[in-house]
């Protein structure tokens, strides 16, 4: 049944105790990994081991626990760097989530307003333009919107075609010589679209704009190599890639991080401090004020080990298969309409849909009664909803532990929904 997949899904499932959970008298079918993934025992165990063996604050200590904690934390950084093909671990900044990572970038521009000697790449004002797309998660829209509001720059965006793809026809009008930065989503969390990057990065280079990628939904699901992508920065988040909450990643090119003013300030990000004046450490320390998510970094490294053991290519293949099966099965449901690409090409295993006139809340509730966890609502992508004229959708999303059988259960349960509300 899982022909295209090289994952031993049953073995994978055995690593996730929560998948044994029963909802009422039904076994849980967790189809909400786009919101947050489940965590394998390996991740929980790595964090517990760290906490019970080496827990200490990092960087500022010479004692054994402090040294071990520092090695573990910096080791996690190196592990992340390796995983995304970063040239240097010091290009990896730990944040609390994707959202903070993107805000960190946006605040680099905003804080540059106050600094006459700021690097020109971060100088933004009236006449300058910032570009996003209409399919952004709010995390990659509002920070830029606020930035434009505060600096007087103009926010522009790339639209969406009816098929749920980026409208790239008029790219040269959207991205112009006035564009200072383009930040766009790699894999859209509502539509499931996998966006091609080369055309946008090429145009960005042409006009000399910085280009960043919201990789929250790509890094967990496919091989991502920052050098190949040719972007300037990417953001992603631990809890969507089998890791813990409380940790995210900003990767940015070393020279960019060097040029950026600090964002959060406080301990561990300084060189010297007096009451009158502070000078700052080099990146990544410059952007990691205060005690970082230490145990969470250990957990994220364990999650990456787990993903690498499965193999990112295998994960991609497994999800391609899931996407194909999901699309095929859902298309067969009467009254169900898919929002997003309807073919499993350039597409993740995240499928949003509307179902007759039944409100997604009601759909989700009935599915939950059948043990099936899907997400309902606007998925933090209200502009996408508006683009497709809906208030909300029901969204099923698959990951390494999901099976065809769970999709069959989803389709069957939709029959039940229809019975109650039809």
């Amino acid at each position: 049944m899982e022909a295209a997949s090289k994952l031993d899904v049953e073995a994978v499932r055995a690593d996730f105790p929560i998948l044994q959970r029963r909802i009422g008298d039904k076994t849980l079918a967790y189809l909400d990994s786009a919101a947050t993934s489940q965590k394998p025992v390996q991740v929980v165990e790595a964090m517990r081991r760290f906490t019970e063996h080496s827990n200490a604050n990092i960087s500022r200590s010479v004692h054994t626990l402090g040294a071990e904690a520092t090695v573990a934390y910096e080791g996690a950084r190196a592990r992340v760097a390796e995983f995304i093909g970063a040239g240097n671990p010091s290009e990896v900044v730990f944040t609390k989530n994707s959202t903070e990572a993107i805000n960190l970038m946006a605040y680099a521009f905003q804080n540059a307003v106050f600094d006459p000697s700021a690097d020109s790449r971060f100088k933004l004002g009236p006449g300058d333009e910032v570009v996003v797309t209409e399919m952004e998660h709010h995390a990659n829209l509002i920070p830029w919107q606020q930035l434009c509001l505060r600096t007087g720059a103009t926010l522009k965006w790339i639209g969406i075609t009816d098929a749920g793809r980026l409208e790239l026809e008029n790219l040269n009008e959207v991205i112009t010589e006035r564009t200072k930065v383009i930040s766009f989503v790699h894999v859209a969390n509502l539509l499931g679209t996998v966006n091609p990057t080369s055309q946008i990065t090429a145009r960005a280079r042409e006009v000399g704009a910085l280009v960043g990628l919201d990789a929250s939904q790509s890094v967990p699901h496919m091989p991502v190599d920052v050098t190949e992508l040719g972007v300037d920065f990417i953001a992603f988040t631990g809890h969507k890639m089998l890791g813990p909450t409380g940790i995210g990643v900003l990767w940015a090119k070393a020279d960019l991080l060097d040029a950026m003013p600090p964002f959060l300030t406080g301990g561990s990000m300084i060189e010297t401090v007096s009451m009158e004046r502070t000078t700052f450490a080099k990146a990544p320390a410059k952007f990691e004020a205060g005690t970082p998510p230490i145990a969470e970094a250990v957990g994220l490294a364990a999650a990456i080990d787990y993903l690498d053991k499965l193999g990112m290519e295998n994960i991609r293949a497994h999800e391609k298969d899931l996407a194909a099966y999901m699309l095929e099965q859902l298309e067969s449901v009467d009254g169900l309409e898919i929002i997003g690409p309807r073919v499993p090409i350039g597409r993740s295993a995240t499928v949003s849909f509307t179902f007759a006139d039944i409100h997604p809340h009601d759909v989700g509730q009935i599915l939950d009664a059948e043990g099936i966890a899907v997400r309902v609502g606007h998925h933090c992508a209200k502009p996408t909803c508006e683009r497709f004229g809906v208030n909300a959708t029901t969204r099923a999303s698959g990951y390494v532990y999901n099976t065809h059988e769970e999709i069959d259960r989803l389709v069957e349960a939709l029959g039940q929904v229809r019975k109650v509300f039809g």
Partner: protein, 152 residues
Amino acid sequence: MNLDELYQEVILDHYKRPRGAGLREPYEGESHQVNPTCGDEITLRVHVEDGKVADVSYDNVGCSISKASASVMYELINGTTVNDALAKLAEFTELMNSKGQSEGDEDSLEDAVAFAGVSKYPMRVKCALLGWMAFKDALVRAEASIPGRTDA
């Protein structure tokens, strides 16, 4: 989850045949409420006359719970005194915050006791309260717009 509890027949009935729906004139207060977690919306108008809720009219998009709740509310408060309506609001809000511990007083809340089961589902409580919040807000606005009235 016990589905029957949540989707009692009476809720489904109000959902499918909402009472008092549509926006009407005259009105003194109007409120627009959104449930940010799901995008449900309601626009609701209140017409107050002689200390009475002379009309409650509304237009809404939402799930069965939020639509049925607005319909049940219409039945409960339309034509009552403002003070009675506020009492119902308080009683219904209390029921919704009861976390499944209360059954509600059927004499007073009538069809609205069907929502008792909803109070167990924190995510849905907001849906059930959306219309009521709009009413509360519209009433405040209505009273602000009627000179000389400061009580109730």
